[in-house]
Amino acid sequence: MPAAPTSSAADVLRGTLDLLVLKTLTLAPMHGWGVSQRIQQFSRGVLDVNQGSLYPALQRLEQKGWIESEWRTTENNRRAKYYSLTRAGRRAVGDEAANWRRYVEAVELILQVS
């Protein structure tokens, strides 16, 4: 049984987080903390990733087969779980980004009406 259906607003947010995570991982394989730092950094501090949803999101993306994980040691010689994009994930980034742009355009159009 998959996760219970949620409201459409939550779907949007979740979809956004997935896209952000995927996009971040296009740069290089990264651990969870690194992903959250990068998103904060790229959005110039505007977006703050809720850790409570980041790790479930990573798990979800892994189940979709878009990312895969591997335990590695960091530069500081610590063990961390690194996530990297799979080939399917790379394709998904493009699709998801396009979806996002369409969504933004649509919202923008509506905002211009008033």
Binding site: M1, A3, H31, G32, W33, S36, Q37, N50, Q51, G52, S53, Y55, P56, Q59, R60, E62, Q63, K64, G65, W66, E68, W71, R78, R79, A80, K81, T86, A88
Partner: protein
């Protein structure tokens, strides 16, 4: 869309639940540490940095929970529910045991029967591309033929002229009897007679050497030189010699070359064939009239590539119509058609199998109702637990799911035990199955069967689990806690159990009525007068072959001597020979003309049999008019015959047939042989006890000799006692003659009813089990009712009600439930038993005797089941009863 990697991640999460938890733990710890370090770098104190990192993270446990949700909680829940179910079942071992045993028996019976259905009906024939094979048959409205064997000349014309047929092959139905000599004592072998192309048409290849070749259908000498042996014969008789190809063996006094060994497990057209020989027809037969008149072969066609059956049939009809015009003497009314081979071969085994499958399905449903009731009663007993959990915040759905899980766990346990029972049952079934009832007695519990079992296991789990699950899920906690104080019984719950009991009684009625009809039909068969007296008669088949018996005179002399010596044995009252023994089918049929009737008038379909003079005395066939044959009815004496009463009634109404003359020709000519009717005898059942006697004529054996006969010996005591003496006599007359088993005519009669007996016995067993289960169900519910009313009864008794009247209260309740069930069962059965019509002899599918007797039986059993709890309840001391609860 899940990808391979995604599925692997899921599986990993599933299989390594603990590892996944540890990984997550470590991952989150790493995150906090990194965040702490970052905070330290920004100038916070170590403890403040950690505190803030934790705060920013916003709670580790909720994150873990969310993570678990994604990972797939339902499986964890399922695992937990399953563990919980196993634990609770272990705590109630009697209930669990009863439920599992009931289900295991039901599922086991289904496994066994379905494995036979699967092999016989569902699996494709073991030939290459079997869906392209069709059976060709002939029909003739004038003679009342349908799907009959073909005349070889017609089949050859179809083969040559119907382009939609890739090829047409022919074979003799059943197995021929041949004698093997030169390999120890002479033995009887089962022979398959086939055209040389049969194996090509079926697509069967030899495991050693070759199968037969198309050109071997024909032989200028009329003798078949090559044979293909079966795998079984090769192993049992020839030691599986790998260099067997090319060796010769003596069959029927002639040496034949073994050209190949058929693949293991292959036997066609019947089980247990030892070897196949080509037809070896002489080429000139092709244009002779008998080749078109004698209907003696089955014909199989393989459709040409890409041709549909409809097209093939249309082309066949065109050729058939041409043949009607071309050969009016034989083909004027001869039609033909085709049927997919599989459907044709499954033929009449399908109905008995489906009846068996339906009965075990009913049995399983009854078992499910019982188990459902058990669980329901327990669900009520556990109501307070459920209510408490609801109050503490457990979801209703979750509770219902848990109850359902318990049912499915039960049914899976029952299913595992059931498959074991089913496999054992399969072996028993294979031993009990009457020979020839199925195409092949080899069937297995394969993946298809296991798939079916899985479906019925889950299906029954859901079925009997629904009531308790709905029950658990629906109750409001307040109601339950309140009622719980009164022992957890309620009207609504009673409705459920009563519904189940009514249902199972109805199912048991249907099952028992079906079985009852078959039992009645079997009784009818047992009292059928077959037209002869089987008791005290020994029968054996003897076939003369080889050069020593080339002439009919030699054959006749052999049998005359055999009869003379056998009749002289002590304890033997008489011996005779017949070319066709009763209950073994018929030989050929023919048209005939009666002297003195209008020119051109002819009749069809009378069968022929030659017998020696004592036959009627030996078999106790009643002579109705005229005389039986005497030794004076010799080869050169005036041709005579005896007819059975069926012919007399149909063709000599109001006349004395004795003294009239008939000839077996449609259009008599100068060379026609006219025979005088000298007697009329009572009809013997030739094909089966259930089949009315056919129109039959008897001819003196001396006037129509055949090499294969049955020797019938009437004895004063046990007929099998003279068997060794007969064997000895045959051995003395010719040591190279093998004789088949000497069986008493009673054994043969019983064997002819083997299918009917088998089906009746199986259904009767299922019905008894179903009935017992239903009675247990009725008892269970009434025991509940009685317990609930103990207090009420106590009051009534204390106030002076007669005990009998008080007991009647409970019994009436039971009778009410049983009556509803019986009425529903009867209405259903009135429709469903129509499906049995083809299996019933002299009994209508709505036979009033059965439809009265069985419901009465059920009602009586139901009352008996109700009586026990009524007795117990009313015996209770009123004082105790009043204080109870």
């Amino acid at each position: 869309m899940p990808t391979i990697k995604g599925i692997r991640a899921r599986l990993r999460a599933l299989l390594r639940r603990d590892a996944a938890e540890r990984e997550l733990e470590e991952e989150l710890r790493f995150h906090i540490e990194m965040e702490t370090e970052k905070n330290v770098r920004m100038g916070l104190s170590a403890s403040e940095a950690r505190r803030r990192a934790l705060r920013d993270f916003g709670g580790i446990e909720p994150t873990k929970e969310a993570h678990r949700d994604v990972r797939g909680r339902w499986l964890e829940e399922l695992a937990a529910d399953t563990r919980y179910a196993l634990r609770t079942l272990r705590r109630a071992p009697v209930l669990a045991g009863a439920a599992i045993v009931t289900l295991a028996l039901g599922i086991g019976a289904n496994t066994t029967i379905f494995s036979a259905v699967n092999a016989e009906i569902l699996q494709p024939l073991p030939f290459a591309n079997p869906s392209r094979l069709v059976m060709l048959w002939e029909e003739n409205p004038e003679k009342g033929w349908h799907e009959e064997v073909c005349a070889p000349a017609n089949a050859f014309d179809w083969k040559e002229q119907v382009r939609a047929f890739g090829d047409v092959a022919m074979y003799f139905e059943g197995a021929g009897q041949s004698t093997l000599t030169g390999e120890g004592a002479p033995q009887i072998l089962k022979a398959g007679g086939v055209t040389g192309n049969l194996f090509d048409v079926l697509g069967v290849r030899a495991q050693l050497g070759r199968m037969l070749m198309p050109d071997e259908t024909w032989s200028a000498s009329g003798v078949a030189h090559s044979v293909v042996i079966s795998d079984r014969f090769w192993r049992t008789h020839l030691g599986a010699d790998p260099r067997i190809v090319g060796r010769t063996i003596r069959i029927d006094g002639q040496s034949r070359e073994i050209v190949g060994v058929a693949p293991a497990g292959f036997s066609f057209p019947v089980e247990g064939i030892d070897f196949w020989r080509p037809m070896a027809w002489k080429p000139e037969f092709r244009n002779q009239i008998f080749f078109r008149r004698a209907h003696l072969v089955r014909a199989i066609a393989r459709l040409a590539p890409g041709v549909s059956q409809q097209i093939a049939n249309a082309q066949l009809q065109t050729v058939v119509n041409q043949l009607k015009q071309q050969y009016p003497a034989t083909n004027k009314f001869m039609g033909a058609g085709l049927t997919p081979l599989h459907r044709f071969l499954v033929g009449d085994t399908q109905l008995p199998l489906l009846v068996l499958l339906a009965s075990v399905a009913l049995l399983l449903l009854i078992a499910c109702a019982n188990v459902g009731n058990l669980l329901l009663v327990r669900a009520v007993g556990r109501e307070r637990e459920a209510a408490l959990r609801l109050t503490l915040g457990a979801g209703r759905l979750r509770l219902a799911k848990q109850a359902l899980t318990e049912s499915v766990v039960l049914s899976v346990l029952g299913g595992v035990a059931g498959v074991a029972i089913g496999i054992a049952g399969k072996r028993v079934l294979q031993r009990l199955l009457p020979a020839g009832m199925l195409r092949s007695s080899h069937f297995d519990v394969d993946w298809t069967v296991l798939g079916y079992v899985l479906v019925i296991v889950l299906g029954s789990g859901l079925l009997f689990g629904t009531a308790p699950a709905l029950w658990t899920g629906r109750r409001s906690p307040a109601e339950s806690l309140k009622e719980g104080a009164r022992g957890g019984d309620s009207r609504r719950m009673r409705r459920w159990t009563e519904l189940l009991v009514v249902g199972e009684v109805a199912l048991a009625v249907v099952l028992t009525l079906g079985a009852g009809l078959l039992v009645r039909s079997f009784q009818e068969l047992m009292i059928v007068d077959p037209g002869f007296e089987p008791r005290g008669v020994l029968a054996t088949q003897i076939v003369l072959s080889g050069p020593r018996y080339d002439s009919t005179a030699q054959q006749r002399l052999f049998f005359e001597e055999l009869i003379r010596r056998t009749a002289a044995l002590p304890g033997v009252e008489g011996a005779a020979v017949t070319t066709v023994p009763p209950l073994a089918g018929t030989s050929y049929t023919s048209d005939f003309v009666i002297a003195g009737r209008p020119t051109g008038e002819y009749y069809t379909e009378i069968t022929h049999r030659s017998v020696t003079p004592d036959y009627f005395r030996v078999m106790h066939v009643r002579l109705l008019r005229g005389r039986v044959f005497t030794p004076a009815d010799k080869l050169n004496a005036a041709p005579v015959l005896i007819i059975n009463e069926q012919i007399a009634q149909k063709y000599f109404k109001g006349q004395d047939p004795v003294g009239q003359r008939i000839t077996f020709d449609k259009v008599p000519n100068d060379s026609s042989q006219w025979s005088t009717i000298v007697g009329v005898v009572a009809g013997e059942r030739q094909r089966a006890l259930s089949a009315e006697p056919l129109n039959e004529t008897y001819i003196p054996y001396a006037q129509e000799v055949q090499s294969g006969v049955s020797l019938m010996t009437r004895t004063s005591g046990d007929p099998t006692a003279v068997a060794p003496a007969i064997r000895r006599i045959v051995g003395e007359l010719d040591p190279d003659i093998a004789i088949s088993d000497l069986r008493s005519m009673e054994t043969i009669r019983d064997a002819s009813l083997a299918r009917e007996r088998f089906l009746m016995a199986m259904l009767a067993i299922f019905a008894v089990v179903g009935l017992l289960l239903a009675v247990v169900g009725v008892y269970g519910v009434l025991a509940q009712v009685a317990r609930r009313r103990t207090r009420e009864m106590g009051i009534r008794i204390a106030l002076g009600s007669p005990i009998g009247q008080v007991r009647w209260l409970v019994v009436r309740h039971g009778l009410g439930l049983v009556s509803i069930g019986v009425v529903i069962g009867i209405s259903v059965a009135l429709v469903t038993t129509r499906g049995l019509t083809a299996l019933l002899y002299h009994i209508a599918p709505a036979d009033p005797v059965t439809f009265v007797a069985i419901p009465v039986l059920l009602a009586v059993t139901g009352v008996a089941a109700a009586w026990v709890p009524a007795l117990q309840a009313s015996r209770a001391d009123p004082a105790v009863a009043l204080r109870s609860e």
